[in-house]
Symmetry: C2
Subunit: 221 residues, 2 copies
DNA sequence: CGATCAGTTGAGAATGGTCAAATTCGGTGG
DNA sequence: CCACCGAATTTGACCATTCTCAACTGATCG
């Protein structure tokens, strides 16, 4: 699909901590991450932050910020970032030229939604330890697809504050949960590295099912 | 957009409690609700249920179940339902015929995701009472758009079990939360009717901002 | 070599869950 | 119309998870 090549012309870099997409602003761009980690989030009037998802290399981010007149969420760089900027016109003009692009973008948006839904289940119906286990397994599975880890573990630039805001927990409790998982011999998170001490037992513990991640790509009718 | 007319040819009805879309099954349909309420959900291996969203008349449901090979969630009818069935072929053939249909469907999917994101923020960072207030305000706002209620309140066929599974709470606690909100003069939920006793104060209490709901329709480039 | 940010730990409090037992409500059959 | 049934709601008592506050340690970086 050559139309996709247009998506990689405008190369951008961002420093760690930079806000790549700003909630409430217009004319935002979307990006395809080439290197580094980011996270999408919303903040409540009280200042509390909820992280919706983490983005890793290969991920498409900010689609909603170009579809809606103003961005309904923000995205911040966790590490230094390299990314390709995708403009609204790339997308909409592509639709007229290549209907299959529409299917591909719709599929990408739906996969994204499927992940948010799984995070919702995580917050609504799992304990703090199960949530943590589930998140670490998800990140591991996603990184494996882009060559960033295996079942022994992966490098992870997140702080315990990031984990807390993604899981709806306090940072203090995140620390206790990580200790418990480590003492139970399930998973160890230390010095920017996650080590799966017992991958199979961890998957059972978290009721982790990759179904929502490994949809096989757009059905091309 | 005449292409949309194709979406209303196959009229279907379902009885209260019927599972319209089944998690894990193939060749599911999507629907546009004409009458009645439904809810989309996932169940964990332990049998716990998380409701992801409620669907009311006018809502498009089950898009992900036709994009993915197998449905990643289920949908059940709350009340008796009248709906139009939308087949995968209606969508994909429409894309080739009318590129703007692609934009419209993508926009609908994104609005859907924006709601799930807001529910995630709800579970992650709001107290039980704020969550309840937020959910009831959201339902009221959405119903108002389709003529199903106003700022005094709306008819609501949900049980306290539905509310519990949507908010990540126990049914017992839902009951206590409803009593508290009633005693505080904010909102009353009784006999299948929600009454906003003090709409403005309730909105402030829940930090409810309709931004994520009232996006103004697809940008047609 | 401070300063700052991330991580760690303890004590006590608060939110929400579980279990068990009423009570109410909307049908339904007689 | 009335008795009865099952589902939904309500309440109390007690318990568990998670939070808050506070202090301290360790790592990193100019």
């Amino acid at each position: 699909m050559e139309t996709l090549a247009r998506f990689h012309r405008r190369r951008r870099t961002f420093l760690s901590g930079h806000e790549m997409i700003n909630h409430g602003e217009r004319n935002q761009s979307a990006f395809i991450l080439a290197k580094g980690w980011a996270f999408s989030f919303k903040v409540l009037p009280t200042g509390e932050r909820q992280i919706v998802d983490f983005q890793i290399p290969g991920d498409f981010l900010g689609l909603r910020s170009i579809l809606f007149r103003t961005a309904d969420h923000s995205v911040e760089a966790v590490t230094d970032i390299e990314a390709s900027e995708v403009l609204a016109s790339d997308i909409f003009e592509g639709f007229a030229r290549a209907p299959r692009l529409a299917t591909a973008v719709l599929w990408a948006a739906s996969r994204d939604e499927a992940m948010v839904v799984e995070h919702l289940v995580n917050l609504g119906r799992r304990s703090a330890e199960e949530r943590m286990a589930h998140l670490l397994l998800e990140l591991g599975a996603r990184l494996k697809l882009v060559g960033g880890g295996d079942r022994t573990g992966f490098d992870c630039p997140l702080t315990q504050y990031h984990l807390a805001d993604a899981l709806g927990l306090s940072a203090v409790h995140v620390n206790r949960v990580l200790r418990q998982l480590r003492e139970d011999g399930l998973v160890t998170f230390r010095q920017r590295r996650v080590v799966f001490d017992d991958f199979e037992r961890l998957k059972v513990f978290a009721a982790f099912d990759t179904e929502y991640l490994d949809q096989e790509g757009p059905l091309l009718h």
